[in-house]
Amino acid sequence: MSEIASAGVRTAWRSKPGARAEAARGAPDARRLLQLTLAGIWLLDGVLQYQAFMFSKGFSDMISGTASGNPRAVASPITWNASLVQHHLVLLNTIFATIQLLLGIGIAWRPTVRVALAASIAWALGVWWFGEGLGMVLTSAASPVNGAPGAVILYALLAVLLWPADRPGRLAPFTAARAVGAPVARALWLVLWLSLAWFALLPGNRAPQALHDMIAGMGDGEPGWLAALDRGAASLVAHQGLAASVVLAIALVIVAAGVYLPAPAARGTLVLAIVIAAVIWVFGEAFGVIMTGGGTDPNSGPLLALLALAYWPARAVATAPSRTAPAGAGEGMAAS
Protein backbone atom coordinates (compact mmCIF):
# COMPACT_ATOMS: atom_id res chain seq x y z
CA MET A 1 0.00 0.00 0.00
CA SER A 2 1.36 3.39 -0.86
CA GLU A 3 2.03 5.96 1.77
CA ILE A 4 -0.51 8.19 0.18
CA ALA A 5 -3.07 5.51 0.00
CA SER A 6 -2.50 4.53 3.57
CA ALA A 7 -2.77 8.14 4.65
CA GLY A 8 -6.06 8.35 2.94
CA VAL A 9 -7.21 5.18 4.58
CA ARG A 10 -6.05 6.40 7.96
CA THR A 11 -8.12 9.49 7.49
CA ALA A 12 -11.11 7.77 6.14
CA TRP A 13 -11.38 4.39 7.72
CA ARG A 14 -13.45 5.69 10.57
CA SER A 15 -15.70 7.62 8.27
CA LYS A 16 -18.67 6.70 6.21
CA PRO A 17 -18.15 5.94 2.53
CA GLY A 18 -19.33 9.30 1.31
CA ALA A 19 -16.95 11.13 3.54
CA ARG A 20 -14.15 8.75 2.69
CA ALA A 21 -13.85 10.04 -0.83
CA GLU A 22 -13.92 13.61 0.43
CA ALA A 23 -11.19 12.96 2.93
CA ALA A 24 -9.05 11.09 0.43
CA ARG A 25 -9.28 13.95 -2.02
CA GLY A 26 -8.29 16.59 0.48
CA ALA A 27 -5.82 14.80 2.72
CA PRO A 28 -2.22 15.76 2.02
CA ASP A 29 0.36 12.99 1.75
CA ALA A 30 3.35 12.66 4.05
CA ARG A 31 5.59 14.81 1.89
CA ARG A 32 3.01 17.54 1.69
CA LEU A 33 2.65 17.50 5.47
CA LEU A 34 6.40 17.93 5.81
CA GLN A 35 6.31 20.72 3.23
CA LEU A 36 3.59 22.41 5.24
CA THR A 37 5.64 22.14 8.40
CA LEU A 38 8.54 23.73 6.55
CA ALA A 39 6.17 26.43 5.33
CA GLY A 40 5.03 27.04 8.89
CA ILE A 41 8.60 27.46 10.07
CA TRP A 42 9.32 29.93 7.26
CA LEU A 43 6.18 31.85 8.18
CA LEU A 44 7.25 31.87 11.81
CA ASP A 45 10.67 33.14 10.75
CA GLY A 46 9.04 35.94 8.81
CA VAL A 47 6.95 37.00 11.75
CA LEU A 48 9.94 36.81 14.11
CA GLN A 49 11.89 39.02 11.75
CA TYR A 50 9.38 41.81 12.42
CA GLN A 51 10.28 41.91 16.12
CA ALA A 52 11.51 45.18 17.54
CA PHE A 53 15.01 43.81 18.11
CA MET A 54 15.45 43.24 14.39
CA PHE A 55 14.89 46.93 13.76
CA SER A 56 17.64 47.86 16.19
CA LYS A 57 21.39 48.05 15.81
CA GLY A 58 21.52 44.75 17.64
CA PHE A 59 20.46 42.99 14.46
CA SER A 60 23.32 44.32 12.37
CA ASP A 61 25.69 43.63 15.25
CA MET A 62 24.42 40.08 15.33
CA ILE A 63 25.20 39.69 11.63
CA SER A 64 28.65 41.22 11.88
CA GLY A 65 29.38 38.94 14.81
CA THR A 66 29.18 35.92 12.55
CA ALA A 67 32.20 37.15 10.58
CA SER A 68 34.39 36.55 13.58
CA GLY A 69 36.68 33.56 13.16
CA ASN A 70 35.77 32.98 9.53
CA PRO A 71 38.32 33.13 6.72
CA ARG A 72 38.64 36.57 5.18
CA ALA A 73 36.95 35.53 1.94
CA VAL A 74 33.91 34.49 3.91
CA ALA A 75 34.03 37.26 6.49
CA SER A 76 34.33 40.23 4.15
CA PRO A 77 30.93 39.82 2.50
CA ILE A 78 29.38 39.33 5.93
CA THR A 79 30.89 42.55 7.19
CA TRP A 80 29.72 44.34 4.05
CA ASN A 81 26.23 42.95 4.54
CA ALA A 82 26.16 43.97 8.20
CA SER A 83 27.17 47.49 7.24
CA LEU A 84 24.50 47.63 4.56
CA VAL A 85 21.87 46.43 7.00
CA GLN A 86 22.96 48.98 9.57
CA HIS A 87 22.56 51.83 7.12
CA HIS A 88 19.24 50.69 5.71
CA LEU A 89 17.96 48.83 8.71
CA VAL A 90 14.22 49.43 8.45
CA LEU A 91 14.00 48.91 4.72
CA LEU A 92 16.18 45.83 4.54
CA ASN A 93 14.78 44.14 7.61
CA THR A 94 11.25 44.72 6.36
CA ILE A 95 12.26 43.16 3.04
CA PHE A 96 13.89 40.22 4.83
CA ALA A 97 10.82 39.63 6.95
CA THR A 98 8.44 39.92 4.04
CA ILE A 99 10.48 37.54 1.88
CA GLN A 100 10.36 34.90 4.60
CA LEU A 101 6.67 35.47 5.12
CA LEU A 102 6.09 35.01 1.40
CA LEU A 103 8.23 31.88 1.31
CA GLY A 104 6.02 30.31 3.94
CA ILE A 105 2.85 31.35 2.17
CA GLY A 106 4.25 30.25 -1.18
CA ILE A 107 5.10 26.76 0.01
CA ALA A 108 1.70 26.39 1.62
CA TRP A 109 -0.09 27.63 -1.50
CA ARG A 110 -0.05 24.60 -3.77
CA PRO A 111 0.28 26.26 -7.17
CA THR A 112 3.42 28.10 -6.04
CA VAL A 113 5.11 25.35 -4.09
CA ARG A 114 7.88 24.77 -6.63
CA VAL A 115 8.69 28.43 -7.06
CA ALA A 116 8.67 29.01 -3.32
CA LEU A 117 10.83 25.98 -2.56
CA ALA A 118 13.35 27.03 -5.23
CA ALA A 119 13.37 30.57 -3.88
CA SER A 120 13.77 29.25 -0.35
CA ILE A 121 16.90 27.37 -1.37
CA ALA A 122 18.46 30.48 -2.86
CA TRP A 123 17.41 32.61 0.10
CA ALA A 124 18.63 30.06 2.64
CA LEU A 125 22.04 29.80 1.00
CA GLY A 126 22.34 33.58 0.97
CA VAL A 127 21.36 33.88 4.61
CA TRP A 128 23.64 31.00 5.54
CA TRP A 129 26.61 32.91 4.23
CA PHE A 130 25.75 36.58 4.72
CA GLY A 131 23.71 36.22 7.89
CA GLU A 132 25.03 33.16 9.69
CA GLY A 133 28.67 33.03 8.65
CA LEU A 134 28.22 29.59 7.08
CA GLY A 135 26.90 28.38 10.40
CA MET A 136 30.41 28.98 11.80
CA VAL A 137 31.46 25.60 10.39
CA LEU A 138 34.79 27.06 9.31
CA THR A 139 35.52 28.34 12.80
CA SER A 140 36.22 26.58 16.04
CA ALA A 141 32.90 27.78 17.45
CA ALA A 142 30.64 25.36 15.61
CA SER A 143 28.75 23.00 17.87
CA PRO A 144 25.71 20.83 17.25
CA VAL A 145 24.38 22.06 20.57
CA ASN A 146 24.24 25.70 19.52
CA GLY A 147 22.91 25.23 16.03
CA ALA A 148 25.73 24.14 13.72
CA PRO A 149 25.83 23.75 10.78
CA GLY A 150 23.38 26.64 10.79
CA ALA A 151 19.65 26.26 10.93
CA VAL A 152 19.06 27.96 7.64
CA ILE A 153 21.09 25.47 5.63
CA LEU A 154 18.72 22.80 6.91
CA TYR A 155 15.85 24.75 5.31
CA ALA A 156 17.63 24.45 1.97
CA LEU A 157 18.33 20.77 2.51
CA LEU A 158 14.70 20.12 3.36
CA ALA A 159 13.55 22.05 0.31
CA VAL A 160 15.68 19.81 -1.88
CA LEU A 161 14.55 16.59 -0.21
CA LEU A 162 10.89 17.61 -0.23
CA TRP A 163 10.93 18.85 -3.80
CA PRO A 164 7.60 17.89 -5.38
CA ALA A 165 8.89 15.42 -7.94
CA ASP A 166 9.32 11.69 -8.05
CA ARG A 167 11.99 9.56 -9.60
CA PRO A 168 10.20 7.27 -11.98
CA GLY A 169 9.95 3.55 -11.77
CA ARG A 170 10.89 2.85 -8.19
CA LEU A 171 9.28 2.88 -4.81
CA ALA A 172 11.07 5.25 -2.48
CA PRO A 173 11.88 3.72 0.90
CA PHE A 174 11.26 7.02 2.65
CA THR A 175 9.87 10.44 1.79
CA ALA A 176 13.22 12.19 1.46
CA ALA A 177 14.21 9.75 -1.27
CA ARG A 178 11.32 10.53 -3.56
CA ALA A 179 12.88 13.48 -5.35
CA VAL A 180 16.60 12.76 -5.21
CA GLY A 181 16.67 8.99 -4.82
CA ALA A 182 17.63 6.90 -1.84
CA PRO A 183 21.43 6.85 -2.35
CA VAL A 184 21.70 10.63 -2.58
CA ALA A 185 19.27 11.20 0.30
CA ARG A 186 21.17 8.76 2.52
CA ALA A 187 24.49 10.36 1.59
CA LEU A 188 23.17 13.81 2.53
CA TRP A 189 21.94 12.48 5.85
CA LEU A 190 25.29 10.79 6.51
CA VAL A 191 27.26 13.93 5.74
CA LEU A 192 25.02 16.08 7.93
CA TRP A 193 25.10 13.91 11.03
CA LEU A 194 28.75 12.96 10.71
CA SER A 195 29.57 16.64 10.46
CA LEU A 196 27.59 17.20 13.66
CA ALA A 197 29.62 14.44 15.33
CA TRP A 198 32.79 16.08 14.10
CA PHE A 199 31.75 19.46 15.49
CA ALA A 200 30.95 17.86 18.84
CA LEU A 201 34.54 16.72 19.11
CA LEU A 202 36.19 20.01 18.24
CA PRO A 203 38.64 21.09 20.94
CA GLY A 204 36.51 24.08 21.87
CA ASN A 205 33.54 21.84 22.53
CA ARG A 206 35.24 19.10 24.48
CA ALA A 207 36.89 21.42 26.96
CA PRO A 208 35.80 20.64 30.55
CA GLN A 209 33.45 23.59 30.92
CA ALA A 210 32.57 24.17 27.25
CA LEU A 211 29.17 22.51 27.23
CA HIS A 212 28.34 23.84 30.68
CA ASP A 213 29.08 27.40 29.67
CA MET A 214 27.18 27.06 26.43
CA ILE A 215 24.01 25.79 28.11
CA ALA A 216 24.24 28.10 31.12
CA GLY A 217 24.56 31.08 28.81
CA MET A 218 21.27 30.26 27.14
CA GLY A 219 19.30 31.19 30.23
CA ASP A 220 19.99 34.91 29.92
CA GLY A 221 16.78 36.82 29.28
CA GLU A 222 14.65 33.68 29.27
CA PRO A 223 11.60 33.09 31.48
CA GLY A 224 12.51 31.89 34.95
CA TRP A 225 11.51 28.27 34.44
CA LEU A 226 13.57 27.94 31.27
CA ALA A 227 16.56 29.64 32.84
CA ALA A 228 16.29 27.23 35.76
CA LEU A 229 16.07 24.32 33.36
CA ASP A 230 19.20 25.51 31.60
CA ARG A 231 21.03 25.97 34.88
CA GLY A 232 20.10 22.46 35.94
CA ALA A 233 21.22 20.96 32.66
CA ALA A 234 24.41 22.97 32.74
CA SER A 235 25.24 21.71 36.21
CA LEU A 236 24.87 18.13 35.00
CA VAL A 237 27.65 18.57 32.46
CA ALA A 238 29.88 20.79 34.56
CA HIS A 239 33.49 19.69 34.13
CA GLN A 240 32.25 16.82 31.96
CA GLY A 241 32.93 18.44 28.62
CA LEU A 242 35.02 15.64 27.17
CA ALA A 243 32.73 12.83 28.28
CA ALA A 244 29.62 14.66 27.15
CA SER A 245 31.14 15.43 23.78
CA VAL A 246 32.20 11.83 23.22
CA VAL A 247 28.78 10.48 24.19
CA LEU A 248 27.08 13.02 21.94
CA ALA A 249 29.43 12.23 19.06
CA ILE A 250 28.79 8.50 19.39
CA ALA A 251 25.06 9.07 19.37
CA LEU A 252 25.36 11.30 16.31
CA VAL A 253 27.41 8.68 14.46
CA ILE A 254 24.79 6.06 15.25
CA VAL A 255 22.13 8.36 13.87
CA ALA A 256 24.24 9.05 10.79
CA ALA A 257 24.57 5.35 10.02
CA GLY A 258 20.99 4.59 10.90
CA VAL A 259 19.51 5.25 7.47
CA TYR A 260 21.59 2.38 6.08
CA LEU A 261 20.16 -0.11 8.55
CA PRO A 262 17.07 -2.28 8.08
CA ALA A 263 13.81 -0.46 8.67
CA PRO A 264 13.21 -1.44 12.31
CA ALA A 265 16.71 -0.41 13.35
CA ALA A 266 16.49 2.70 11.19
CA ARG A 267 13.33 3.72 12.99
CA GLY A 268 15.15 3.35 16.30
CA THR A 269 17.98 5.61 15.17
CA LEU A 270 15.51 8.15 13.83
CA VAL A 271 13.78 8.23 17.19
CA LEU A 272 17.21 8.83 18.68
CA ALA A 273 17.72 11.66 16.19
CA ILE A 274 14.44 13.26 17.22
CA VAL A 275 15.32 12.93 20.90
CA ILE A 276 18.71 14.53 20.29
CA ALA A 277 17.07 17.31 18.31
CA ALA A 278 14.59 17.93 21.13
CA VAL A 279 17.32 17.99 23.78
CA ILE A 280 19.39 20.37 21.68
CA TRP A 281 16.38 22.61 21.07
CA VAL A 282 15.34 22.85 24.71
CA PHE A 283 18.68 22.94 26.51
CA GLY A 284 21.18 24.07 23.90
CA GLU A 285 19.07 26.49 21.93
CA ALA A 286 16.40 27.54 24.47
CA PHE A 287 13.67 27.23 21.84
CA GLY A 288 15.65 29.45 19.50
CA VAL A 289 15.70 32.18 22.18
CA ILE A 290 12.35 33.29 20.80
CA MET A 291 11.14 34.18 24.27
CA THR A 292 13.87 36.79 24.69
CA GLY A 293 12.46 38.76 21.81
CA GLY A 294 15.70 38.33 19.89
CA GLY A 295 15.26 35.04 18.06
CA THR A 296 15.23 35.16 14.28
CA ASP A 297 14.17 31.55 13.91
CA PRO A 298 13.49 28.49 16.06
CA ASN A 299 17.09 27.31 15.35
CA SER A 300 18.15 23.85 14.25
CA GLY A 301 16.29 21.58 16.68
CA PRO A 302 12.90 21.49 14.92
CA LEU A 303 14.60 21.27 11.52
CA LEU A 304 16.62 18.23 12.56
CA ALA A 305 13.47 16.56 13.84
CA LEU A 306 11.63 17.40 10.63
CA LEU A 307 14.51 15.97 8.65
CA ALA A 308 14.34 12.76 10.67
CA LEU A 309 10.65 12.43 9.86
CA ALA A 310 11.47 12.77 6.17
CA TYR A 311 13.66 9.68 6.49
CA TRP A 312 11.09 7.63 8.36
CA PRO A 313 10.88 4.26 6.59
CA ALA A 314 7.58 3.70 4.89
CA ARG A 315 6.14 0.40 3.93
CA ALA A 316 6.32 1.77 0.41
CA VAL A 317 6.17 5.33 -0.75
CA ALA A 318 4.39 5.79 -4.04
CA THR A 319 6.35 7.60 -6.70
CA ALA A 320 3.86 7.60 -9.52
CA PRO A 321 2.49 11.13 -9.85
CA SER A 322 -0.90 9.86 -10.83
CA ARG A 323 -1.28 8.21 -7.47
CA THR A 324 -0.17 11.18 -5.48
CA ALA A 325 -1.90 14.06 -7.17
CA PRO A 326 -5.47 14.54 -6.13
CA ALA A 327 -7.74 15.83 -8.79
CA GLY A 328 -7.67 19.55 -8.98
CA ALA A 329 -4.27 19.96 -7.45
CA GLY A 330 -2.17 22.67 -8.93
CA GLU A 331 0.77 21.90 -11.11
CA GLY A 332 3.02 22.34 -8.15
CA MET A 333 1.41 19.50 -6.34
CA ALA A 334 1.02 17.27 -9.32
CA ALA A 335 3.76 15.03 -8.10
CA SER A 336 3.97 15.88 -4.48
Binding site: A23, V47, A108, W109, P326, G328, M333
Partner: protein
Protein backbone atom coordinates in the same frame (compact mmCIF):
# COMPACT_ATOMS: atom_id res chain seq x y z
CA UNK B 1 11.39 49.83 17.78
CA UNK B 2 9.02 48.62 15.13
CA UNK B 3 8.23 51.33 12.59
CA UNK B 4 4.69 52.49 13.09
CA UNK B 5 3.89 52.17 9.39
CA UNK B 6 4.39 48.41 9.62
CA UNK B 7 1.85 48.25 12.42
CA UNK B 8 -0.42 50.50 10.40
CA UNK B 9 -0.26 48.08 7.46
CA UNK B 10 -1.31 45.19 9.66
CA UNK B 11 -4.03 47.38 11.18
CA UNK B 12 -5.25 48.25 7.68
CA UNK B 13 -5.42 44.56 6.80
CA UNK B 14 -7.53 44.02 9.90
CA UNK B 15 -9.85 46.82 8.89
CA UNK B 16 -10.30 45.13 5.53
CA UNK B 17 -11.11 41.87 7.32
CA UNK B 18 -13.61 43.70 9.51
CA UNK B 19 -15.25 45.32 6.50
CA UNK B 20 -15.44 42.03 4.62
CA UNK B 21 -16.89 40.25 7.64
CA UNK B 22 -19.48 42.98 8.08
CA UNK B 23 -20.36 42.72 4.39
CA UNK B 24 -20.77 38.97 4.73
CA UNK B 25 -23.13 39.45 7.64
CA UNK B 26 -25.19 41.99 5.73
CA UNK B 27 -25.28 39.83 2.61
CA UNK B 28 -26.21 36.66 4.48
CA UNK B 29 -28.91 38.36 6.57
CA UNK B 30 -28.76 35.75 9.31
CA UNK B 31 -31.30 37.66 11.39
CA UNK B 32 -33.96 36.87 8.83
CA UNK B 33 -33.38 33.15 8.99
CA UNK B 34 -34.34 32.25 12.50
CA UNK B 35 -32.31 31.70 15.59
CA UNK B 36 -30.63 28.53 14.47
CA UNK B 37 -29.31 29.96 11.27
CA UNK B 38 -28.37 33.18 12.95
CA UNK B 39 -26.17 31.13 15.24
CA UNK B 40 -24.19 30.03 12.22
CA UNK B 41 -23.14 33.62 11.67
CA UNK B 42 -20.91 33.36 14.70
CA UNK B 43 -17.80 33.07 12.58
CA UNK B 44 -18.36 36.32 10.77
CA UNK B 45 -19.28 38.04 14.02
CA UNK B 46 -16.11 36.68 15.61
CA UNK B 47 -14.00 37.81 12.67
CA UNK B 48 -15.55 41.27 12.81
CA UNK B 49 -14.94 41.74 16.51
CA UNK B 50 -11.45 40.30 16.49
CA UNK B 51 -10.41 42.41 13.52
CA UNK B 52 -11.69 45.60 15.16
CA UNK B 53 -9.92 44.74 18.40
CA UNK B 54 -6.66 43.92 16.66
CA UNK B 55 -6.74 47.05 14.55
CA UNK B 56 -7.24 49.10 17.71
CA UNK B 57 -4.37 47.38 19.43
CA UNK B 58 -2.03 47.87 16.49
CA UNK B 59 -2.92 51.52 15.92
CA UNK B 60 -4.01 53.56 18.89
CA UNK B 61 -6.09 55.83 16.69
CA UNK B 62 -8.33 52.90 15.89
CA UNK B 63 -9.00 51.99 19.48
CA UNK B 64 -12.70 51.50 20.11
CA UNK B 65 -13.41 49.80 23.45
CA UNK B 66 -11.41 49.74 26.68
CA UNK B 67 -9.35 46.63 27.28
CA UNK B 68 -11.72 45.46 30.01
CA UNK B 69 -14.62 45.42 27.58
CA UNK B 70 -12.63 43.40 25.07
CA UNK B 71 -11.71 40.94 27.80
CA UNK B 72 -15.41 40.38 28.41
CA UNK B 73 -16.14 40.08 24.69
CA UNK B 74 -13.40 37.55 24.09
CA UNK B 75 -14.19 35.72 27.29
CA UNK B 76 -17.73 35.19 26.06
CA UNK B 77 -16.48 34.31 22.59
CA UNK B 78 -14.03 31.77 23.96
CA UNK B 79 -16.75 30.21 26.07
CA UNK B 80 -19.08 30.08 23.05
CA UNK B 81 -16.59 28.35 20.80
CA UNK B 82 -15.53 26.05 23.63
CA UNK B 83 -19.17 25.06 23.92
CA UNK B 84 -19.35 24.51 20.17
CA UNK B 85 -16.19 22.41 20.20
CA UNK B 86 -17.57 20.37 23.09
CA UNK B 87 -20.74 19.77 21.10
CA UNK B 88 -18.65 18.75 18.11
CA UNK B 89 -16.64 16.42 20.29
CA UNK B 90 -19.78 14.69 21.47
CA UNK B 91 -20.60 13.85 17.88
CA UNK B 92 -17.23 13.50 16.21
CA UNK B 93 -14.93 12.61 19.09
CA UNK B 94 -11.42 13.99 19.28
CA UNK B 95 -11.46 14.81 15.59
CA UNK B 96 -13.47 17.87 16.50
CA UNK B 97 -10.64 19.01 18.73
CA UNK B 98 -7.95 18.30 16.19
CA UNK B 99 -9.55 19.73 13.13
CA UNK B 100 -13.10 20.76 13.69
CA UNK B 101 -14.79 23.81 12.36
CA UNK B 102 -14.86 25.57 15.70
CA UNK B 103 -11.44 24.57 17.00
CA UNK B 104 -9.53 27.25 15.05
CA UNK B 105 -12.01 29.88 16.15
CA UNK B 106 -11.67 28.73 19.73
CA UNK B 107 -7.94 29.14 19.30
CA UNK B 108 -8.33 32.62 17.83
CA UNK B 109 -10.71 33.70 20.58
CA UNK B 110 -8.47 32.22 23.27
CA UNK B 111 -5.43 33.97 21.83
CA UNK B 112 -7.27 37.29 21.84
CA UNK B 113 -8.41 36.77 25.41
CA UNK B 114 -4.87 35.90 26.45
CA UNK B 115 -3.52 38.93 24.65
CA UNK B 116 -5.80 41.30 26.54
CA UNK B 117 -5.53 39.60 29.91
CA UNK B 118 -1.77 38.97 29.93
CA UNK B 119 -0.61 42.31 28.63
CA UNK B 120 1.46 44.39 30.98
CA UNK B 121 2.98 47.84 30.82
CA UNK B 122 6.15 47.98 28.72
CA UNK B 123 8.17 49.47 31.54
CA UNK B 124 7.48 46.44 33.71
CA UNK B 125 9.20 44.16 31.23
CA UNK B 126 11.41 46.28 29.04
CA UNK B 127 14.75 44.69 28.40
CA UNK B 128 17.55 45.69 26.10
CA UNK B 129 16.56 46.23 22.54
CA UNK B 130 12.90 45.82 23.30
CA UNK B 131 12.77 48.92 25.42
CA UNK B 132 11.13 51.00 22.75
CA UNK B 133 8.58 48.46 21.72
CA UNK B 134 5.76 49.81 23.79
CA UNK B 135 5.82 53.18 22.09
CA UNK B 136 5.99 51.60 18.67
CA UNK B 137 3.08 49.41 19.50
CA UNK B 138 0.90 52.23 20.67
CA UNK B 139 0.95 51.08 24.25
CA UNK B 140 0.42 47.39 23.56
CA UNK B 141 3.05 46.49 26.10
CA UNK B 142 4.45 43.03 26.66
CA UNK B 143 2.88 39.72 27.54
CA UNK B 144 3.14 37.74 30.72
CA UNK B 145 3.77 34.00 30.30
CA UNK B 146 5.68 34.35 27.03
CA UNK B 147 5.78 30.58 26.53
CA UNK B 148 2.01 30.65 26.22
CA UNK B 149 2.35 33.38 23.60
CA UNK B 150 4.78 31.18 21.70
CA UNK B 151 2.43 28.20 21.86
CA UNK B 152 -0.48 30.32 20.63
CA UNK B 153 1.66 31.74 17.84
CA UNK B 154 2.77 28.28 16.73
CA UNK B 155 -0.80 27.01 16.67
CA UNK B 156 -2.01 30.07 14.78
CA UNK B 157 0.74 29.70 12.20
CA UNK B 158 -0.10 26.02 11.88
CA UNK B 159 -3.77 26.67 11.22
CA UNK B 160 -2.97 29.44 8.77
CA UNK B 161 -0.65 27.19 6.80
CA UNK B 162 -3.22 24.43 6.80
CA UNK B 163 -5.88 26.84 5.62
CA UNK B 164 -3.65 28.02 2.78
CA UNK B 165 -3.00 24.46 1.70
CA UNK B 166 -6.64 23.48 1.81
CA UNK B 167 -7.74 26.65 0.10
CA UNK B 168 -5.40 26.05 -2.80
CA UNK B 169 -5.87 22.34 -2.96
CA UNK B 170 -8.34 19.81 -4.21
CA UNK B 171 -11.92 20.16 -3.16
CA UNK B 172 -11.64 23.84 -2.47
CA UNK B 173 -15.16 24.46 -3.59
CA UNK B 174 -16.36 21.36 -1.83
CA UNK B 175 -15.49 20.27 1.66
CA UNK B 176 -13.41 23.33 2.40
CA UNK B 177 -16.32 25.59 1.95
CA UNK B 178 -17.67 28.00 4.50
CA UNK B 179 -20.56 29.25 2.47
CA UNK B 180 -21.73 25.81 1.46
CA UNK B 181 -21.49 24.61 4.98
CA UNK B 182 -23.34 27.58 6.36
CA UNK B 183 -26.40 26.66 4.36
CA UNK B 184 -26.25 23.07 3.33
CA UNK B 185 -26.21 21.47 6.74
CA UNK B 186 -29.34 23.13 7.92
CA UNK B 187 -31.44 20.12 7.30
CA UNK B 188 -29.13 17.45 8.46
CA UNK B 189 -27.14 19.22 11.05
CA UNK B 190 -29.56 21.42 12.81
CA UNK B 191 -32.09 18.69 12.92
CA UNK B 192 -29.36 16.35 14.04
CA UNK B 193 -28.24 18.58 16.82
CA UNK B 194 -31.70 19.13 18.02
CA UNK B 195 -33.08 15.68 17.70
CA UNK B 196 -30.43 13.08 17.25
CA UNK B 197 -27.52 14.12 19.36
CA UNK B 198 -26.18 11.05 21.03
CA UNK B 199 -28.02 8.75 18.72
CA UNK B 200 -25.03 8.00 16.61
CA UNK B 201 -25.80 10.48 13.92
CA UNK B 202 -22.60 11.51 12.25
CA UNK B 203 -23.86 14.67 10.71
CA UNK B 204 -23.18 16.72 13.78
CA UNK B 205 -23.01 20.42 13.92
CA UNK B 206 -19.27 20.75 14.05
CA UNK B 207 -18.61 17.99 11.61
CA UNK B 208 -20.84 19.49 9.02
CA UNK B 209 -20.15 23.17 9.32
CA UNK B 210 -16.74 22.81 7.90
CA UNK B 211 -14.02 25.24 7.25
CA UNK B 212 -11.32 23.40 9.07
CA UNK B 213 -8.79 20.73 8.32
CA UNK B 214 -9.48 17.68 6.27
CA UNK B 215 -10.40 15.25 9.02
CA UNK B 216 -13.56 17.22 9.56
CA UNK B 217 -14.61 16.51 6.02
CA UNK B 218 -16.00 13.35 7.50
CA UNK B 219 -19.62 14.00 8.02
CA UNK B 220 -19.85 16.79 5.52
CA UNK B 221 -20.78 14.43 2.76
CA UNK B 222 -23.84 13.52 4.71
CA UNK B 223 -24.64 17.16 5.22
CA UNK B 224 -24.31 17.82 1.52
CA UNK B 225 -26.82 15.15 0.74
CA UNK B 226 -29.43 17.47 2.11
CA UNK B 227 -30.39 20.06 -0.47
CA UNK B 228 -29.67 23.57 0.68
CA UNK B 229 -33.30 24.51 0.80
CA UNK B 230 -34.03 28.18 0.43
CA UNK B 231 -30.38 28.87 0.02
CA UNK B 232 -29.76 32.22 -1.55
CA UNK B 233 -26.76 32.94 -3.65
CA UNK B 234 -24.40 31.94 -0.85
CA UNK B 235 -21.03 30.80 -2.09
CA UNK B 236 -20.60 33.65 -4.52
CA UNK B 237 -19.32 37.15 -4.18
CA UNK B 238 -18.51 38.18 -0.67
CA UNK B 239 -20.11 34.98 0.61
CA UNK B 240 -17.69 32.81 -1.35
CA UNK B 241 -16.02 30.21 0.84
CA UNK B 242 -12.52 31.43 0.20
CA UNK B 243 -13.39 34.90 1.49
CA UNK B 244 -14.03 33.74 5.03
CA UNK B 245 -11.05 31.41 4.96
CA UNK B 246 -8.91 34.24 3.64
CA UNK B 247 -10.05 36.41 6.52
CA UNK B 248 -9.13 33.68 8.94
CA UNK B 249 -5.67 33.31 7.42
CA UNK B 250 -5.05 37.06 7.58
CA UNK B 251 -6.18 37.16 11.18
CA UNK B 252 -4.13 34.12 12.15
CA UNK B 253 -0.93 35.56 10.73
CA UNK B 254 -1.59 38.99 12.21
CA UNK B 255 -2.41 37.50 15.58
CA UNK B 256 0.81 35.45 15.55
CA UNK B 257 2.67 38.62 14.60
CA UNK B 258 1.16 40.51 17.51
CA UNK B 259 1.85 37.76 20.01
CA UNK B 260 5.48 37.44 19.00
CA UNK B 261 6.27 41.13 18.98
CA UNK B 262 4.68 41.45 22.41
CA UNK B 263 6.88 38.77 23.95
Amino acid sequence: MIPSWILDIFAAIMLVVAAVSAARLVAARPWQRGARRAALADIDVAHLLMAIAMAGTLASGLRTLPDGAWEVVFGVMTAWFAYRVARDAQVSGVRALAGGHCAPHLLHAGAMLYMFVAVSAPAAHGSGGMGGMGGGLSGMGTLELPFLALLFALALVGYSIWDLDQLSGPGTSGHYSLATARVAPTGAVLAGVGATAGSGATAGLGAAVVSGPAPVAAGLAEARQVPPASAPADGTGVLAPWVATGCRIAMGVTMAFMLLIMI
